[in-house]
Symmetry: C2
Subunit: 135 residues, 2 copies
Amino acid sequence: MPIKINHLAIVVPNLESALAFWHDAIGLELGGREENPGENVNIGFLQIGDSRIELLEPTNNDSGIGRYLEKRGPGMHHLCIEVENLEASMEQLRQKGIELINDTPKIRHEDGIRYCFIHPKSAFGVMVELYELPH
Amino acid sequence: MPIKINHLAIVVPNLESALAFWHDAIGLELGGREENPGENVNIGFLQIGDSRIELLEPTNNDSGIGRYLEKRGPGMHHLCIEVENLEASMEQLRQKGIELINDTPKIRHEDGIRYCFIHPKSAFGVMVELYELPH
């Protein structure tokens, strides 16, 4: 059983302007910023209730997020759902015929989060990420 | 200060197939269904933590949601943020130069929810709805 929305990722052309909207005007608390040169994005984290909004600004037109912005324009990019047991969720999805982008969990070494992505064609156009936090 | 994500609305071509993904495969609890002939949509409500996912299936190609599906394909449609005081939030947004789609709060008579929409061009491509629940 999924626990909650961990985060909703939004692609933006410019992080400062996007923060002027989400932080200054909407009033969401800024949880931090991060430069991720590996993925060619600058990220702004905003807390909203028990979830986060992650603003993704591409730093490079050739990166995945840069190409997404060029092709589709700014907007909601993916929805991340936090689950108790990632492998059990992945097994259940496979049994229901859902296509996963990665067949085994990936691990983020900086924080130990285990994650996978579901193919948008199995999720009616939505890119869904699953997270399992370290226990 | 915003309280939480009230719901994330997703446009789907077929509610039954979308529920097979979100309910049967992902495991979200089905909170209910609703036919809304006024808006020409069938809606499926899924509980996720303290928020909801709302699946919108258009019943008519000429409706707002039907045209959206035809033009943009299925996917995330709008993000609804729950606030304490809608008029105070709207005033703050106007002061920051944010364009609202409706200038005064709308009220849903069946449940007393007060709401407004922010223009996506002020929110970097995201359609943002604000909700104030009846006190």
